[in-house]
């Protein structure tokens, strides 16, 4: 069946993110002034104050993360809010080893609140959804 969920459209400042995701790598934007990585990637650092918001670069993330919070959409009912999604599915915010948090899905069969513990270790996996796009998702280690 054709993939019929929403598909990201990369922008100039996120091309590197999505191109590397397609290769199975997670990359983050990093501010040389703040000495911090951040998500989502923008050419200009979003921290305030920042001594030099344009002094930023790409770094590769380890792909390790912990679970910050989650929800189980359509838990026990199987009802998804949008065509293409098969409920139940887990939406999550994960905290990357490098510091930033990012939105994602937790890949897991038959998710339950008990199987998902905040703080649990996770690692990135990539789901190929088109010829150009792979979505970084996370699974329990």
């Amino acid at each position: 069946m054709a993939y019929n969920k929403p598909i990201p459209v990369p922008q100039g400042e996120s091309d590197v993110y999505w191109q590397n995701a397609k290769k199975g790598e997670l990359w983050l934007r990093y501010c040389n002034s703040c000495k911090e990585a951040y998500f989502f990637p923008t050419d200009i650092c979003r921290a305030i104050p920042c001594a030099n918001p344009r002094d930023t670069k790409w770094i590769q993330a380890s792909g390790k993360a912990t679970l910050y919070t989650f929800a189980i959409v359509g838990y026990e009912t199987g009802k998804a809010p949008h065509p293409g999604f098969e409920a139940p599915y887990v939406t999550a915010i994960v905290e990357l080893e490098e510091g930033p948090t990012m939105p994602t899905n937790i890949v897991m069969d038959d998710p339950t609140p008990e199987k998902l513990q905040i703080g649990m270790p996770l690692e990135v996996v990539f789901e190929d959804i088109t010829d150009e796009i792979a979505l970084p998702k996370f699974k329990p280690v």
Partner: protein, 380 residues
């Protein structure tokens, strides 16, 4: 009208880095580059900015992208003249003390924008959240609630959510125009189906058709109107993020800022408030908001609302119309908070009329727990 002549000036101007045909930049990049450049032109930076004005995009998205957390926002969008109109708004806002440095930005990759037909898929939300099924506010708010549960206890949080759902329904039954007409027991709450765990159906607001309006005039002219005026004693606002995944603290809303500001302007304290109208998009929204407004401390909302304290007859009157949870929720429900506050202050609420009704606090929450507006209303 206040004489605003020479009360403000335009102190910085610039374009984005490149204009013309710029194939690899999004709308928001143009906004951001121009913002940095114009501020530099003024010898200022984003840390000085407390007012954010734009048209054609939400300041939630724009503020998040810039990294700014403004205390005054305006997205008046009336076509190409919008940014001229923003000048008048900015002057008034500055004169009133709502902001000191107003940033007005525009960015539109009209020629080169990459997006699919039928939607601007290039923006951050459709690029980073929507593909994962972050669709609809129950998903966003339930993740915030799960984080709160982690910090303060799942059972206790659940109990607070249930108290709010049940108490609010009791009020709704006293309002003749309420959508929900049946009683709700605690069992009904706990047995309702899951929408997005940890949210039950009965944690979520209604989806209804509704309209509302209110009229503001000067205090002077208000003396000659038909009903008792609901004077605006204080008002404050602000935003912290656009996407739920960018929210600085999933358990604290911007009401931590707009609440104290509005109350300070009004010259009141919590004990002066007779009625709290708190946007209840979800039961959890109320818990986070009560704490953010300082009615109780972090993690204390469940205790605060325990034993049906906010229900009819309880000692904390809240959401006496029955709320977005049980009265009506058309989408932008904030309108109805104001209607109920004014009616209660006037003493027009019949069976649900509260006894003391001199001062009401209204707090609206918008987006994904993203923005708040707090106002304090009073009658003489």
């Amino acid at each position: 009208m206040t004489d605003l002549r020479k009360t403000a000036a335009i102190v910085g101007v610039d374009e984005s880095d490149e204009i013309g045909k710029v194939p690899d930049k999004s709308n928001l990049q143009h906004h951001a580059e121009a913002a940095h450049n114009a501020l530099a032109d003024a010898g200022l930076s984003l840390k000085d900015v407390d007012g954010l004005f734009t048209a054609g995009t939400s300041t939630l998205q724009l503020g998040e992208y810039l990294g700014v957390k403004p205390s005054f926002v305006d997205t008046t969008a009336v076509g190409g003249s919008s940014f001229i109109i923003h000048i008048a708004h900015a002057i008034a806002a500055i004169d009133a003390g709502y902001c000191d440095v107003a940033l007005v930005t525009h960015g539109e990759a009209g020629r080169s924008m990459r997006s699919r037909p039928g939607g601007n898929a290039s923006d951050p939300d459709p690029q980073y959240q929507t593909p994962y099924g972050f669709i609809g506010q129950p998903v966003a708010y339930s993740m915030a609630a799960r984080r709160y549960m982690h910090m303060y206890g799942e059972d206790k949080t659940r109990q607070g959510m249930a108290e709010i759902a049940v108490a609010t329904r009791k009020w709704a039954l006293k309002h003749p125009k309420s959508y929900m007409k049946d009683e709700m027991s605690f069992d009904d709450y706990h047995n309702s189906r899951w929408i997005s765990w940890p949210f039950h159906l009965l944690d979520c607001c209604l989806v209804t058709d509704a309209g509302g309006a209110f009229v503001i005039t000067s205090a002077e002219r208000a003396k000659d109107t038909a009903k008792k005026p609901g004077y605006i004693l204080g008002a404050a606002e602000g935003q912290t993020h656009g996407m739920i995944s960018q929210m600085p603290d999933l358990t604290r809303t911007n009401a931590v800022n707009s609440g104290p500001k509005a109350m300070e302007m009004a010259g009141i304290t919590h004990s002066d408030i007779d009625l709290a109208m708190i946007y209840d998009s979800f039961t959890y929204t109320v818990m986070a908001t009560l704490e953010s407004l300082g009615f109780c401390g972090p993690g204390e909302a469940a205790d605060f609302v325990a034993n049906q304290r906010t229900a009819p007859g309880g000692d904390f009157a809240m959401n006496t119309n029955g709320g977005g949870l049980s009265h009506t929720h058309s989408g932008m429900y904030g309108m109805f908070l104001i209607l109920e506050a004014v009616r209660q202050l006037r003493g027009e609420c019949g069976d649900r009329q509260i006894k003391d009704h001199n001062i009401a606090l209204v707090n609206g929450t918008g987006g994904s727990l993203s923005s708040t507006g707090t106002t304090v209303l009073a009658v003489d």
